[in-house]
């Protein structure tokens, strides 16, 4: 069954599997575009996001303003472009905080078991009985409304999900014989966790992180919508929808454009997550 091994990294392997899934590849492409737009927004946006043209509020699409202007006469397209970086920041940083904290907490609970596991899991139970959005609202209200605090609030709120996933994944890896094999050659706990357990338990986490970015961006938009996230005049998609809601009847497109942006971005992350799950599943390989 064995041929001479072609040197191929794990990453190349995953990419090979992912390539087969057209939808995931499109999703990845969309994400790359959104990221580029966010990074290059000062170059791409035709106007600064806060440049007002009070004489022409609610302008329809035209050559001058491709997607029209809002109630203060600001260019909607420019605000959408700048808004992408806000949404991505909320998504990635909060998910990053949640994932790192969740992985550490979950790894401790899963690997050590016993009373540490019990304590951590019961605390998470209590923690999870508080509705996440309410928690975010409370935190944002206490810390004061700002982008940074929204990110922290969403991050903290998503920790239990990652912790539980990590714990479950570790529990199954911990029972494998190679963990015992590592103990029998004097490997310490740190090495066993870092070298033997986490690399084998991380796959479901990668999927969850990808999807988490999408849902955190959504939660960020939600917080901004109720005024607890990004503060004006900085554009954020949720805040833009919130801004537009008073003028829905006459100028529906003002809410529609940021809505579509949120939808496409979140959808892209979810679809990529789905694709990654399939690509990382060893059972689908041969």
């Amino acid at each position: 069954m064995v041929r001479r091994r072609k040197k191929k990294s794990k990453l190349a392997d995953v990419w090979k599997q992912l390539k087969k899934n057209k939808i995931a590849v499109i999703a990845l492409f969309v994400i790359v575009v959104v990221v580029l737009v966010a990074v290059l927004s000062p170059l791409l946006a035709p106007y600064p996001y806060d440049q007002q043209d009070v004489l022409h509020p609610f302008a329809p699409s035209s050559g001058e303003h491709l997607l029209g202007t809002d109630r203060l006469g600001r260019d909607v397209l420019s605000r959408l472009i700048y808004g992408s970086s806000q949404s991505l920041q909320v998504g990635t940083i909060s998910t990053g905080i949640a994932a790192v904290a969740g992985i550490i907490v979950g790894a401790i609970a899963g690997y050590y078991g016993g009373w540490k596991d019990n304590l951590i899991m019961r605390l998470l139970d209590i923690y999870q009985s508080i509705p996440m959005f309410l928690l975010c609202v409370t935190l944002a209200a206490v810390l004061g409304p700002s982008l940074r605090n929204a990110v922290i609030a969403i991050g903290i709120g998503s920790v239990p999900g990652f912790a539980r996933l990590m714990r479950a994944s570790i529990l199954s890896v911990r029972e494998m014989e190679y963990i015992e094999a590592a103990k029998s050659i004097n490997a310490g706990n740190g090495r066993i966790i870092l070298k033997h357990i986490i690399p084998n338990a991380i796959s479901p986490l990668i999927v969850a992180i990808t999807m988490g970015i999408g849902s955190s961006a959504l939660a960020g938009a939600g917080l901004s919508f109720i005024g607890l996230g990004v503060q004006p005049p900085i554009p954020e998609w949720g805040a833009m929808i919130s801004d537009a809601r008073n003028f829905m009847r006459d100028h529906g497109t003002l809410a529609l454009y940021p809505g579509i942006c949120v939808m496409i971005t979140v959808l892209a992350f979810n679809l990529l997550g789905d694709g990654l799950r399939d690509a990382l599943d060893p059972r689908l390989k041969n």
């Binding site: 069954m1 064995v2 041929r3 087969k20 041969n286």
Partner: protein, 323 residues
């Protein structure tokens, strides 16, 4: 050939994956007579299970692909049957026992009901009639019928395998496919199950294809034996032929690899090397590279099947035992 229950003709099955084609079964011919127990012996990856699953047509396609051949049951080619017709055959005319009894039973259903359900599926009878027959089946495999209402976890491993066998036999199938039925069991439990299968075979007259890697199990209950290597049958004959006069070098090698209870030799005589890569089988004899008797002609082309004594077939240019 009226007494053949099942005939397999030139069966070829491949698995198509992204980077390669695995040649799992390469032109297998096999006849199963009524009431006969035939042992299909070979190592991991030899294609034993693929053959059994082909007979039931339960291979996942893709990746598996039938590339030729016929499987004829009672004179009818089942390769041409519709899925609906196959469903009537499975469990009714042909049933299968899998290696692991743990996964073959539904953990949240009483074992008696699981057997009754199998009976009810293929017979138009009342529920109480099916349950009565299920009780009979349990008794037949040596489980007191008081245990009808118990759940799988209340049974030991050997008992579970008996329940699985009872389920498989519930509709009086003409052919039983047993895929390593005792491999997961302890030797003393295996002895019980083999003893039971032996007596069932005598009483019911069911034909059995027993898939195993254990020549000891084969010696116990098989009438004839097919030795399979890299997807083709390399030697076929009655149990006497195979055990008294093993003639394919692979069969000989298998016997030599076994530690013998009554031998005092200091070393075992393993077959050197490994099975050939099933995605890249050699042109000639698949065993050629590992064969102590390989000669010039062996690598050139697939050897023909020789009948070296009546009913004893060997696929080798240079057959014969130890010398």
């Amino acid at each position: 050939m009226a007494d053949n229950l099942l005939e397999i003709r030139d069966l070829v099955v491949e698995y198509h994956t992204d980077d390669a084609i695995i040649h799992a079964v390469n032109g297998v011919n096999l006849n199963v007579k009524k009431g006969e127990t035939i042992g299909l012996v070979g190592e991991t990856g030899a294609g034993k299970t693929t053959i059994a699953r082909s007979i039931l047509r339960i291979l996942q396609t893709p990746p598996a692909k039938f590339c030729g051949g016929n499987i004829i049951l009672n004179g009818e080619d089942i390769m041409n049957k519709s899925e609906k017709e196959m469903r009537r055959i499975r469990g009714n005319k042909i049933s299968m026992i899998f290696q692991d009894p743990m996964t073959a039973l539904n953990p949240i259903e009483k074992v008696g009901f699981q057997i009754a359900e199998a009976i009810g599926l293929h017979n138009k009878i009342t529920k109480s009639e099916a349950e009565r027959r299920a009780c009979d089946m349990l008794e037949m495999v040596g489980i007191p019928m008081e245990r009808f209402g118990e759940y799988p976890h209340q049974f030991s491993g050997g008992m579970k395998q008996r329940v699985v066998i009872a389920m498989a036999l519930a509709c009086n199938p003409e052919l039983l496919l047993a895929d390593e039925p005792t491999t997961a069991l302890d030797v003393t439990i295996q002895a019980q199950v083999l003893e039971m299968m032996q007596s069932l075979k005598e009483n019911l007259g069911t034909s059995v294809i027993l898939i195993t890697h254990d020549l000891g199990v084969v010696a116990d209950i098989c009438d004839s034996v097919a030795v399979i290597y890299a997807g083709s049958i390399v030697e076929y004959g009655t149990a006497e032929h195979i055990f008294d006069n093993p003639s394919h070098p692979y069969t000989v090698g298998l016997f030599n690899s076994l530690p013998k209870l009554n031998s005092t030799e200091p070393r075992l005589k393993p077959i050197k090397g490994l099975m050939p890569d099933p995605t890249n089988l050699p042109k000639g004899c698949a065993f050629c590279e590992r064969c102590p008797k390989a000669a010039d002609g062996c690598a050139a082309g697939a050897p023909a099947v020789l009948e070296i004594e009546p009913g004893h077939f060997v696929k080798c240019l240079n057959p014969g035992g130890d010398d």
